[in-house]
Point group: C2
Chain length 276, copies 2
C-alpha cells in the first residue's frame, strides 16, 4: 500500500518507524514544519516527503495531528483524497471527532476509521518516536460506518506493528473509559504537584511519588484540547475521584482503624481481582 | 556488632539480607511467628534465632514491626535491652512514635534513633524482602535526643547497605513530607480504583493507569494505622489535592482552552524544575 502519514510527532513518527520496521508498505510523510520530515527521511522512517498531491494515490492516510487539526487537515485536503483511501485518525477523544470525520467521508467518498493507539511517553515530537512504542499496547478501533474490509485492514496492520490486543468500541464507550484510564491520571498528576510540599519532596520520596507525578510533565496544549473535548465524562470521573477521596479522608479523621482498614481492603480486592 | 532484628517482614527481612550481604555484623532474628525465622535461617539472612535474652548483648536493635507494635515490643522488653544498645524503629510515621520511644529510652537507659527507610514494594512479608531493596533510596533519620555517635553509626550503616542519601529531620517535618510523598499516593490509588469504570479498564489502559493504581494493592491493616496516626498532615494533603482537582475540573467545565493550558503548564514547569 501507499501509506501517507500526516503529522510526524511522537505518534505519527512511531507509526512510520513501526510500519517501516515491520511491513513493506511505501511510506510518505507530510508535516507542517520541515525538520521532522528531514529527520524521518534521514533515519529511513519514510520513503519520501509528500504534499496533498500524494493523497491522490494513497491507500491509507494516518493522521498524527491534534484532534481539531486532524479534522481541519481532512477538510482542507478532502478533494485530493483517493476515494478508495482509508483515513485513520489517532486522537485521544472520539465523540467529538468521529462524527465530523464520518460526515467528511460521506461527502467526499473515502472511508474513515477511528483509531486510538494506547501508548505514549511523557515526551513529544518526532525525536521521542520509537518503532517499538506500540509493542503489547491496545489498539482501540472505532469502526463507525466503515466497511468491514477497511476495519480489518487497519486491525491487521496494527497487530503487525506490535499492538498486543485490538479492541472495537463506540466513540461514547471509548471516551468514557479514556476519561478514567488516561485523562484522569493526567489531571491528578497535575493536581498532585500543585501541593506546596512538592518542591521539597527530594529525600522524602520513592516509587509512589514518582509514579503519581510522572505524567505531570504534560503537553499542556494537547491535553487542554483533549480534556475540554471530553468535558462531561472527564468531569464525572474527577467528581467520582473527589467523592472517593472525601470518603477516605472522613475515615481517617474519624479514626476508626478497623473501619478504615475495611475501606482500604476494598481497594486491594478490586486491584487484585484485576490482576494488573 | 551484635544486631537484633525484631520483625522479619519485607523491611526487617530486607535489612537482615542487606546487612548480611554488605557487612560482617552478627545478626539475630526475632519474630512472633516461626515461619519467617526458618526462612531467614535457611537463606542465611540471619545467623541465629533469638528471644528477649538476645537483647542483653545487642549493640543495635532494628524494629521491623508495625508502629504501635514497635512501641509495645520495646515497652515489653525494655528491661532486657543492653544500655549501650541503639534502638532503631523503621516506622512510616514519627510524631506519634518518637516521643513514646524517647520516653522509654530515657527510662531504661538505652539510645533511640528514629529511622524511615524510603523503600517498599506492593508486596509484604519476608518472601518479598530483598538485599538490594534500599539501593539508591533515601535513609531518613530522626536523631531526636540521641548522641551524635549513635546517629552516625546508624547513618553509616545505612549507607553501607545501599541507601543513596541520608536525610536528617524532625518528626514533624518527616510526617508532613511523608503525608504528601507516600501516604497521599496510597490514598489516591485506592480512591482511583473505586471508580465504577475500573473493572472494565482492560483494553483501554496503558502506563498512566498502571502507575496510579499500582499501590492500591495496599496492606490495609498497616496503612490504616499509618494514616490515622498521621491524621492532620494527611487530611490537609488530601484536602489540598481535592482543591486542586476542583480547580482543574472548573477549568475543563469552563472550556477556555488557553486558560486551561496555562494551568496545566504550571504543573509541567513544577515537574520539570524538580527534574525527577
Amino acid at each position: 500500500m501507499n501509506i501517507v502519514i500526516a503529522g510526524l510527532g511522537i505518534i505519527g513518527g512511531s507509526i512510520a518507524k513501526a510500519l517501516k520496521k515491520y511491513t513493506d508498505h511505501r511510506l510518505i510523510g507530510i508535516n507542517r514544519s520541515r525538520a521532522p520530515i528531514d529527520k524521518a527521511l534521514e533515519c529511513g522512517a519514510i520513503d519520501q516527503a509528500g504534499d496533498r498531491e500524494a493523497l491522490r494515490t494513497a491507500d491509507m492516510l494516518f493522521l498524527g495531528t491534534y484532534p481539531d487539526a486532524s479534522v481541519e487537515f481532512v477538510k482542507d485536503n478532502a478533494p485530493y483524497i483517493n476515494k478508495s483511501c482509508i483515513v485513520v485518525d489517532t486522537c485521544g477523544i472520539k465523540s467529538d471527532i468521529c462524527p465530523r470525520m464520518n460526515a467528511l467521508a460521506e461527502e467526499y467518498g473515502f472511508t474513515f476509521v477511528g483509531f486510538h493507539p494506547m501508548a505514549g511517553k511523557e515526551k513529544n515530537g518526532f525525536d521521542a518516536s520509537d518503532a517499538d512504542l506500540f509493542l503489547g499496547a491496545s489498539s482501540i478501533i472505532i469502526p463507525g460506518k466503515a466497511p468491514d474490509e477497511a476495519v480489518n485492514t487497519l486491525a491487521n496492520l496494527t497487530r503487525k506493528i506490535g499492538f498486543g490486543r485490538v479492541v472495537f468500541t463506540t466513540p461514547e464507550e471509548h471516551d468514557r473509559m479514556i476519561a478514567f484510564t488516561s485523562q484522569l491520571p493526567h489531571v491528578l498528576a497535575c493536581a498532585y504537584v500543585f501541593s506546596p510540599q512538592c518542591p521539597n519532596h527530594k529525600g522524602f520520596s520513592a516509587g509512589s511519588y514518582r509514579d503519581v507525578s510522572r505524567v505531570a510533565n504534560i503537553n499542556a496544549e494537547l491535553w487542554s484540547e483533549l480534556f475540554i473535548e471530553n468535558k462531561e465524562p472527564l468531569a464525572l470521573e474527577i467528581q467520582t475521584l473527589i467523592d472517593n477521596l472525601t470518603e477516605i479522608k472522613s475515615g481517617i479523621e474519624k479514626g476508626d482503624r478497623r473501619e478504615l482498614a475495611e475501606l482500604l481492603h476494598r481497594a486491594k480486592v478490586i486491584k487484585e481481582e484485576l490482576g494488573e
